[in-house]
Symmetry: C2
Subunit: 292 residues, 2 copies
């Protein structure tokens, strides 16, 4: 069993991006500038946004963090999105999800200029993805493909089972891994809450990807000997042994699954850092797509 | 074995649409108007476009057929697309594919106003489909879902295998059948040219859909007893017994597969008429989405 260490791969990517920034500086070109909108004080969201700002610092991107209280009205948030769409100094921006219940996430996502939508959540970017046209690939699925590629894991002709059909991970990932690209060319099965014979289906997977947010959902009896396991789950569970009182748990029962597989991502330190690396790649791409 | 007769179901839909047109007339509302651009003299394309115009006549929609020679330059075609985008009398239009090799199909598809894209090929409509947002569903996949629905075929929790990952059938259909909708909620596997154990995969299918354009590709040994078979293929094969010299063949070896399954679509008369019915549904929807 080999660990698919997202931290190491993400570090590799950050170094390449830092070099690209230096190159841009030498050529008198604009430095990429990412903005992030954060609403409220959710612990997970604070951590993610913090990690994104930190990654910008390490690479040499400019970054701006815009924070709102939990009670911010939807129209104020929409106005901010529109202002960022127009702001020439900002190359790409994200609105950290989830948003409070009184705000329509889909409305916010659709208000973002697709050319600045570095999270790749806008319908235009998803449609371009389906058609394999230029655009922003959703950050987590793109990070997973990058992780497979940089660790030389063959995907062509492999059976891939994805558990979970969310708009931001499972569904786009199913399309990206099934396309005629490299990584890609998998035979993908997308499983979800209505799937009836999940264990049997998972046992056919050469590559098994769990993205449902249920700790320890994937058990050893679901996994084929030698499979590649990608764990997208990051649920906070109580842990009194830690000062902060919790730790992150993936969707995979790591201790029992790991001995059976060829590769496995840890949680934390697997897909999470790759999502952030993807976002950084997309931010640089935002400038390149504009020809800047 | 029961035949899934697309002609009968499409006729049902045409009657409903004809009633909707009468209702619109009574209320002094605009009559839906579909335009179709046809380039060249390909026999298949002529047949399809002819059938679309005929369906408009039967329902009471207005229709306009615009024809170009095979040698039409891309910019002339693009200019026509833009003119149709602006033309208030036209509610929806299609450009019949395939186009001659010197014309970039993707460029033409992307030039169509998504609000008039009744074939549902534009990236915006595909992205909306992924997110389950309002928009036009691609005509053939939507026709297949309608056929399943109107023939009371349960899809929830079923294993569905789709062979073929084209942009206009296999890929969007895989998403539509996997979503949390009715019909939908299938566990979908999308198979293609790189799939390695196709026979074994197909044997797991409760619903097997072939969309590759290879006559008799799906043989009886690939089909589970009692499966539902949807055949999207329509290839012209030589047939000297017919005056015209050819007949349409599906992707499924009908004679040998039919005895094994619960339902099967014939070719012709299965998915083809449903594609046209879908296009008609989308044309009416084009007006409703505009609030007309």
């Amino acid at each position: 069993m080999q660990l698919l260490d997202g931290r190491i791969t993400a570090e590799e990517i950050r170094k390449e991006l830092a070099e690209a920034v230096q190159e841009r500086k030498r050529n008198g070109k604009k430095i990429p500038h990412l903005a992030a909108i954060l609403v409220g004080n959710d612990g997970g969201s604070l951590t993610y946004v913090g990690a994104k700002v930190k990654a910008c610092d390490q690479i040499g991107f400019e970054s701006t963090l815009i924070r709102y209280d939990d009670s911010v009205p939807e129209d104020i948030l929409l106005a901010k999105v529109r202002a960022l769409n127009e702001d020439k100094s900002i190359d790409g921006f994200i609105v950290q999800l989830p948003l409070p219940a009184h705000i329509d996430e889909m409305k916010i996502t659709q208000a973002i200029d697709p050319k600045k939508d570095v999270d790749g959540f806008h319908p235009v970017n998803l449609g371009n993805m389906v058609l394999n046209l230029p655009g922003f690939l959703p950050a987590t699925p793109a990070g997973i493909l990058e992780l497979l590629k940089r660790n030389h894991i063959e995907t062509e002709g492999k059976n891939c089972v994805i558990i979970g059909r969310s708009n931001i991970v499972g569904t786009p990932l199913s399309i990206m891994l099934g396309r005629n690209t490299n990584p890609g060319n998998c035979t993908v099965t997308l499983a979800h809450s209505r799937t009836q014979n999940l264990q049997e289906i998972c046992q056919t997977a050469d590559i098994l990807i769990a993205a449902i947010g249920q700790p320890d959902f994937v058990t050893a009896d679901m996994v084929k000997e030698g499979a590649v396991i990608i764990d997208v789950g990051t649920t906070r569970v109580d842990d009194s042994s830690r000062a902060r009182g919790w730790r992150l748990k993936g969707d995979v029962d790591f201790d029992n699954v790991a001995p059976k597989c060829s590769y496995i991502t840890p949680v934390p330190g697997g897909v999470g850092p790759m999502t952030i690396a993807s976002l950084m790649i997309n931010t640089l791409k935002a400038m390149e797509l504009k020809g800047k």
